[in-house]
């Protein structure tokens, strides 16, 4: 664990948005405790077949790289320039106008100038100039070029693991330069050298083997869900009956495994179970899968190839079970992958049918090629057609605000569906200030595989802008619940709130839906899924 200052003001005092006078190329990197994640376990690296599996420590001088590491980097760089127009164009056209500079939550929360998106990109661009451009080759440092050295590589590693690939910078850039894309390339290159972090490598290996990040084996996965079933019965009197790996189901449901494992995500998982049970009589025929028991995809934080290898399970399982289409749970980067990569990588999914809601008959035209629908789209449609009996007042103890996840925002554009649901399941909803929501939303600070324990200071710094906006509505309207549609958020936001805005909880949308949902045959509901008394039911 890092030595996070108990008093959050200590972090604030360190922040200065005016960089030093010294040129950035002359400031060597200092890999600081609390700001980086531990190196990967060689076993995980080996399991997924990535090169240079060995124990290593970022704090050591010697990173135990292959002898020809410079050549590997150069060739990998070139290969990516040839394969990705995005990368090539983004290397060439930045005018350094600085519009993106103060848009990154890591810059806002640390004041470290190398966390300005433009400078993050320049770390790579400087070497690009040196290796691949005429001007850089001739004029060298005058043209902003520099040679790749071990110090430069360490600087890359430190700062490309201080980017959560949130794409906020790309919204403000006049050319749409997306630093996330550059970070993705940098991390691909790191993986060719064996410079992975464990919080990404091990979940990835787990997911590859067991189907989910936590390495839960099939029988245990089922047991955990059955535990929820008991819990739901206790609280509502209704026995829900989920099924697993069932052929003959119409719909395959996939959600991040984090929600099966840890609070408060578990309440959202119970929410799914209740919603599906509620809809069963109306014709919903859905199955879970233990093989594809992970919606999230930490491969995305490793390389395009590994993203594809993990994602492939979704279509493979849908095909094996013979379902008609796939329904996806609340998750952020899972949805970036589904929305912008899955069909291209592992499609076409021509063995599936165009998704149609069996309850409302709505055709999800926007998903007609991937055949995968977001639970919020699905639920919003149900509510719109009056298919859910809801008692909003059961959420009256909540004053809710909504955190747009980076990925569902800037990699999808899902803004109004969750808001529509929230407004239909609770009475008190307040938006955070407008420069901090929707496409301008701030990252939780822990995305893209950075939600480890040892980099807690980094996470608290990165989450500061988000937390500060919550603080604003907390103080102004008494907001006490932060709703989100992302499993990483549900894991990352609670400590963030405790640190910056104590007194604000975190919930998934479907948890709120389930609390408001009047289940047929339910007993008198006195507590919510968290075992807290419902409003009016307090002793």
């Amino acid at each position: 664990m890092s030595d996070l200052p108990k008093n959050s003001n200590e972090l604030i005092e360190k922040i200065d948005y005016n960089p030093s006078k010294k040129g950035w190329m002359d400031v060597p990197v200092e890999i600081r405790k609390g700001m980086y994640c531990y190196a990967s376990n060689p076993k995980s690296v080996e399991y997924i077949g990535l090169p240079n599996a060995r124990p290593w420590n970022p704090l050591d001088d010697d990173w135990k790289l292959p002898v020809n590491w410079k050549e590997i980097v150069h060739n990998a760089f070139k290969e990516r320039l040839d394969r990705f127009r995005s990368f090539k164009v983004f290397m060439d056209i930045c005018v350094r106008c600085g519009a993106c500079a103060d848009k990154c939550h890591f810059f806002i929360g640390t004041g470290d100038p190398k966390n300005m998106p433009v400078l993050r990109a320049e770390l790579l661009r400087s070497v690009y100039r040196n290796d691949f451009t005429t001007a850089g080759k001739i004029f060298g440092k005058v043209a902003g070029a520099r040679e790749l050295t071990m110090d430069v590589l360490k600087e890359w590693w430190y700062y490309f693991f201080q980017c959560t690939e949130c794409r906020r910078c790309s919204v403000f850039c006049p050319y749409g330069i997306d630093t996330a894309e550059i970070t993705i390339m940098a991390r691909e290159i790191f993986n060719l050298l064996g410079l992975n972090i464990d919080w990404i490598a091990t979940p990835t290996a787990n997911c590859y083997r067991t189907g989910n990040h936590l390495g839960i084996q099939p029988h245990a996965f089922k047991e955990m869900i059955e535990f929820f079933v008991d819990d739901i019965e206790e609280k509502t009197g209704v026995v829900v009956e989920p099924s697993f790996n069932r052929k003959g189901a119409d719909i395959l449901f996939i959600t991040p495994s984090g929600d099966v494992f840890a609070d408060p995500g578990t309440y959202t998982a119970m929410g799914y179970l209740m919603l599906f049970h509620y809809l069963k009589e109306q014709g919903l025929n859905v199955t879970w899968s233990t093989y594809a028991s992970e919606g999230g995809n930490f491969g995305f934080f490793t390389s395009h190839e590994l993203m594809k290898r993990l994602n492939a399970k979704m279509y493979a399982e849908a095909k094996r079970l013979g379902v008609k289409w796939i329904l996806g749970g609340e998750c952020g980067h899972m949805w970036r992958v589904i929305n912008q990569y899955m069909d291209t990588m592992n499609g076409p999914a021509d063995f599936l049918e165009d998704p149609v809601s069996p309850i409302t008959g709505t055709k999800f035209e926007n998903a007609k090629s991937t055949k995968m629908v977001h639970i919020s789209e699905f639920t919003a449609d149900l509510i719109y057609h009056g298919k859910l009996k809801l008692d909003k007042s059961r959420n009256d103890n909540l004053k809710v605000t909504f955190h747009d996840s980076c990925n569902t925002s800037r990699g999808m554009g899902m803004f109004d569906e969750p808001r529509y649901i929230i407004n239909n399941v609770c009475n008190h909803f307040y938006e955070m200030p407008k420069n901090t929501i929707r496409e301008q939303t701030f990252c939780c600070g822990s995305g893209s595989g950075l939600n480890a324990g040892e980099d807690m200071e980094l996470r608290m710094c990165g989450g500061l802008p988000r937390a500060n906006a919550v603080k604003y509505v907390h103080e102004k309207f008494g907001v006490n619940m932060l709703a989100c549609v992302c499993a990483i958020d549900r894991a990352a936001l609670p400590p963030l709130m405790d640190y910056w805005v104590p007194g604000v909880g975190v919930t998934g949308i479907t948890e709120m839906v389930a609390n408001a949902l009047i289940m047929p045959g339910e007993k008198e509901r006195t507590v919510n899924l968290r075992d807290e008394p419902l409003p009016g039911m307090e002793e």
Partner: protein, 333 residues
Amino acid sequence: MIKCMFSLTVVIILAVLAFVGAETAGFKAQFLFGIAIPYAALLIFVIGVLNRVIGWARSPVPFAIPSTCGQQKSLPWIKPANLDNPTTTGGVFGRMFLEVFLFRSLFRNTKTQLSEGPKISFNLEIFLWLAAIAFHASFFTVLARHLRLFTEPVPSVIQLLEKVDGMLQVGVPGILLSGFVLLAAVSYLLLRRIIEPQVNYISLTQDYFPLFLIIGIAASGILMRHIFKIDVIGAKQLAMGLVTFHPTIPEGIGGIFYVHVFFVSVLLAYFPFSKLMHMGGIFMSPTRNLPGNTRAVRHVNPWNYPVHTHTYEEYEEEFRGKMIEAGLPVEKE
């Protein structure tokens, strides 16, 4: 600061070179600065830009990764953001139009401030957008106005443009707004780069150089028109000579003219190797020029290759016993 002074020095040297050459070395130097270099620069510009753009085009776009800056098109009763998250070709054109002509994304710019509390606030920061728009618009107006030197008869659009540009109707010859707006806007962009700590920190030599060069172009242009009052007929003769491929060097246009032409030549030749290529790049930016219909229409990756996956069969093989025990269905008992 060194980077800034270095760029300034280079631009001054370029100016002195052209001025002294044209004033003292006579016809030979005038031929060089008035004919040879402009032709060479134009050639470099055309070939260089084409080369760059073709280079970009050679790299495929494997994934459709638009930055979705507005509501997606999903359920029929939810209003999609047709320009910030377009799903149709028309929508993408609209988005690109806004980006190219109105700098849509830059318009969102805010300034982040941290104050007591702590309170983080995001205030509208419109000046970068304003200066950038003013700069580019006036630059293109000036450019278009120059066509009067390269055409005979001068097209009526250009004459009209000049009328509008000179609407202040002060001075003889009349003051043209665009030149002064250009100078003011570029000066603001330069000052901002020097004064604002963050922008100063990220700036490289090649960020100052075009600014000084453009200041040089605008300043020498204004000087020619209003102070030195050079021989415009001669300038036009030279320009017409260049475009009709019968280059001539008329007598006595004055050194300042050659400085102006030399600056422009340097800008042209410098263009393809620099960040000025953003003009072409913006059209090819995959976060802006692709529709957000990625779940409705499949995007094809030309180099998509097969990968190793952990198949269901392998999975069941490893866990079959436990699965059967837990009552999970299996393929092979």
